[in-house]
Structures are given as C-alpha cells and as structure tokens.
Symmetry: C2
Subunit: 322 residues, 2 copies
C-alpha cells in the first residue's frame, strides 16, 4: 500500500508498504482523512525514536473487525494507545499508560498517514452520520484539549478561574475554544496577529506579548508553546498556589527554579491524551466546529509536502487524504 | 538583648541587640524555647539573602499585646508569615503568600533565636496549659508536615493511597508520623539505620535504598530530601498520573525531563507552610508526641554550637533556650 515512511529523520512516500498486520482483537481500517500534529513533526526532528508510518489523527472506514461485524463499513475515529489490557496499570483503569502499550504512529505501531491501519477494536468510536470527516478528524486533538478542564492530579477548572493560555497554534486554538466554553475568565497569549484575530472573532481575549499579562494573577496557566520560556512565564503570572498545566512536549531537559515553585506552592501538572467520547459528542452537537482551523489539504502522495506545510510557523491543521 | 546574629554567612552571639521594634497590631514576646530547622541552616549557606536574627520555630510568653490584653502572660506559638492584610492576595485568603509579607527569621523580620521577638497579634496561638514547651515548639514544623495531606492545588491524600516519603530527617520523621496517622500505605526511604529504627519502632515501613522501591507504583511521593536526585527518583517510582509533593527547598536551578512528566501525566506540587490550629490540636491531644525527636538543647549563648549540631548529617531537632 501507499504510505508516508519515516526513517532516521527522513520522510518519503513509499508505494511498497505491506498491508497492516492485524492482531487478534484488532480491526483493519481504511483511512479516509488524516491530520498532522506537532508530535508528528517532533518525531521527524528525532525527539522520539520512531521508524515507520507516522500519523495518529484520522477518520476511517472499518474494513474488517473479527467478532465485531456490525462495525464493518462504519466510519470511525480511534484512540491512539493500544494497551495490553492485563497489566496492573490497565487493570487500574489507565490503559493509556500501559507500559507495554503501542501508540498509533508514535511508538511500536504504524500510523495513519497511509491507506490503511490496524487498531484494537476496543479503541474505535463510530462517527455519527451527520459529522463530516473534516470535523471528525479533530476528535483526537480536541479530546487532548478538553482534558485540561479536569487534568489528572489537579482540581478541575472552575468557571470562576482566571485562566491564561500560552500559545495559539493548532492545539492552542482548540484549547482556547474548549476553555471559553467552560466560561472561565480566559486570556490567550497569541504572538501572531492572525492567531489573535481568530480568537477575538470568537469573543476570546487575546494579547500579543507577555508584558500584557499581569504578574501573580492567574489561577491556572495552560502551557501550549512547548518552550521552557513558557514555563518561566507561567511562574511569573501565576498567583501563589496556582497551577500550570503542561500541554506540550519539551525537547531535552528543562531547568526550573523549583524553590520558587515551593515558596509559592505552585503545582505543575502534565497532561496528554483525553477521552474521545466527550470530544466526539461536542463535535457532533455542532457546538464546537473546528473546520475553520483547516489550513490545507493534501493527497497522500504529497504527504511530505503536507508535513512541510504543517511545520511552517503559525500553520494550523494540515490534512492528508489517501 | 542577647541573640544570634547572621551576617554574610557568619553566625555570632551578640549581647548588644536592640529590643524588637513592635509595630501597631504586634505583640512583644519573650522566647521560652526555639527550634532549629533546615531552612535556618540554608540561610547560613546563603540560599536566601538574610541579615539579622534567624529562627522561626518558638514557644514564647506574651509581654505586651496592645488591644489584646488578655494575651499578656499567655504562652503562645506564632505563624511565621506577617502579611499586610490589605493586598489582593491577603483579601483572597492567602496571607501566607502576601507579596509584602515579612517572615520571622527568614525575610525582613528578626527571628526567634533571641530573648524577645515581635509578631502580629493575629499570628499568635495560645498554647494549652497541658502542652509542654518541648512539644509545642514543634507546632510550626508539624503544621508544615500535616499540610501535605491536603496540599494546595492537588487532590487530598486518601487512606488508600500508596505513599512513598523520601527523606527521614527532622521534617521527614514528622511527615512520616502525619502520614501514618492518615492510614495510607506508607513507605519511607530512610538512608540511615537509626532513622529506619525510629520509624519501624512506630510500625512505619522503612527501606534503606531506592532499589527497594518498586518502579511506577506509588500514587504519591513526598520529596523531603531537597536533592534533585529525589525528584528523579520520584519520577521513577510514581505510577502514571501520580503526584510528587515537594516539601523541601532546592538550591539553585533543577533540571527536569519535563516531557516524561507530560507523557506520564505526573503532577508536581510545591508545599510550604501549614495552618497552626490542627498541629496544635494534634500535639495537645497527645496523639502525636514529637519529643523523642529532640536531639539536644543548648542555652541561647551557645546558639552557634546549636546550629553546628543541627547541621550534622542525620541530626534531629536541636532546641535553644534563652
């Protein structure tokens, strides 16, 4: 089959890829539409070791699902962590953290920037008929955005919270819309005028520079820039006993003045994936329509160019259609 | 008056110190007994700039308290943060984080390693008659230990939590007793045999090396060693979505692999002071008697030697009596 191949930091379209190996309990899925996320770009930059087909945001059609025949022909989206189901972590209800897990297009499992993929049947969620592929393809990043409203380990956000979001890229825009729906007092740091305009058009307050953010005033900061400066800035603008939720990956090791975090009794919480169900419901209801965030759409054979387009500063969502 | 004086990293007993300046709303207190804490030792090492009388753990007798005459003659302990009471942080109910605050013997205010001290009347808590000075002097560190059971920003500890405490020094021993009372499944990493024996005598499980701690298994880690290695170890032994509570000060900047914290969705929470009332109640009830943690007692004129004794590895609580 045709697919994008990543090896030693190089991307290439290959037409000789074998069909996905489908393990017991797994479905074979034809990819209808895929999205590119910053993690895919980081894989290319070598932040994680991965050789194979990248991509983990997709809408597809089930070609085969042994034991779940009703799914065949259904349009689906799919949770990206494929867990063992048997270890203590899985049994404790956290399959997304299974130490034996594979992750679609990220770790130990080929991804969705190809004609077909395999995923456990348990990972699949049927897409309501009324929901277009172009919106459903945002299910995975929207789930990751929604989860900050109740991140693991920290108290859930309150509508009365003063929240500052750092970063207004493709994930930042979804985060901003998720947070605005919560009704909290939201300010977004968006460096680029186009990012600010997009937020302000939805009634979301945006500022262009860190100097416009009051020091020691935010209850919660969502860090979505992926840069260590974002964490230092969060420390400055958080009130004592405030919380910063890390919603990015960070290259290498980051230096922190931890004593300052102790003196101000701040909390740092890492947050990664979210449940698909609430994201899919929100998209299906039409209450959050992400389709204006689509920057470009490429055929699968031009997936290398699609990745380049997604890597441009300020690029929003780039889609790839097999 | 007589007091210990810290200046440019040097300690000396001085007999020519002026009586404390007592501002409106403040009480003058005669120090009956004071304790030495690791923060005092860090002040000497220069981790924070401070010139003056160190010390912040004390039991005293009120000599004067304008407008609160009933307090005169009472034995008291005192909260160490003296807040302005008027700024947004104070009005929000967090006077301990008032940006204009002074802190007894730590920042902008002379401490308790002297004959007398001044503190706001609002900071004082009368000590029940039945509670000995030698136990009441632990109120401040015990309050700081108790607060980890419900640290700011994170969910309160549950009796079902698997908790690992790193460090079994003077604060670690108080932390261990506080946590054991909660009934959680507690393991303490205590490097020294004497520390382990002290814990085991109270039925608290203790291990001597990090290798004895199962990886990815703790719900909560309390870091009370103050070393960056403690944080790296916490990361290894925490289950995904676990929480590490930092209960120490850290010299300089600490390097962290933050991406690992994001992938495992870990939470890092800084915790500092606690409310005095529950600590005082617990001490007064006799349910937690810390007096076996007293290592030595020095007269005020020998406070320099007292500080040296407190700085010895494994030293427990050193008291100073004016």
């Amino acid at each position: 089959m045709i697919g994008l191949w990543l090896e030693a930091g190089r991307l290439a379209i290959r037409e000789d890829l074998p069909a996905p190996a489908v393990a017991p309990g797994e479905a074979l899925v034809r990819v209808r539409l895929a999205g590119i996320c910053s993690t895919d770009l980081e894989l290319v930059r070598g932040y994680y070791p991965f050789t194979g087909i990248p991509g983990h945001e997709f809408v597809g059609e089930v070609l085969s699902a042994p034991g779940a025949d009703a799914l065949v022909g259904a349009r689906v989206v799919g949770e990206i962590n494929a867990a063992c189901g048997a270890c203590p972590t899985c049994r404790a209800g956290s399959p997304g953290h299974c130490p034996q897990r594979t992750v679609l297009g990220i770790s130990g499992r080929h991804g969705c920037l190809a004609e077909r993929l395999a995923l456990p049947i348990a990972n699949l969620h049927p897409v309501p008929d009324a929901l277009a592929d172009e919106a459903a393809v945002f299910t995975e990043p929207l789930a990751a955005a929604l989860v900050v409203r109740a991140a693991p380990g920290v108290r859930p956000l309150q509508p009365t919270d003063r929240v500052v979001l750092l970063g207004a890229g493709r994930l930042g825009q979804l985060l901003a819309r998720s947070l605005a729906r919560l009704g909290c007092e939201l300010t977004v740091l968006a460096r680029q005028p186009a990012q600010r305009a997009r937020l302000e058009a939805r009634g979301i307050r945006a500022v262009g520079s860190a100097e416009e953010l009051a020091p020691r005033s935010a209850d919660v900061v969502i860090e979505a820039t992926g840069s260590p400066e974002g964490i230092a800035l969060a420390r400055r603008i958080l009130r004592p006993r405030g919380t910063v939720i890390l919603k990015s990956t960070y290259a290498g090791r980051v230096e922190l003045d931890l004593s300052a975090f102790v003196v101000d009794e701040l909390t740092i919480a890492g947050s990664r994936c979210g449940d698909f169900a609430p994201a899919l419901e929100l998209l299906a209801s039409g209450a959050l329509d992400p389709r204006d965030l689509i920057e470009a759409r490429f055929p699968l054979r031009e997936a290398v160019a699609a990745m380049e387009a997604a890597a441009r500063p300020g690029a929003l969502k780039v889609l790839v259609a097999p």
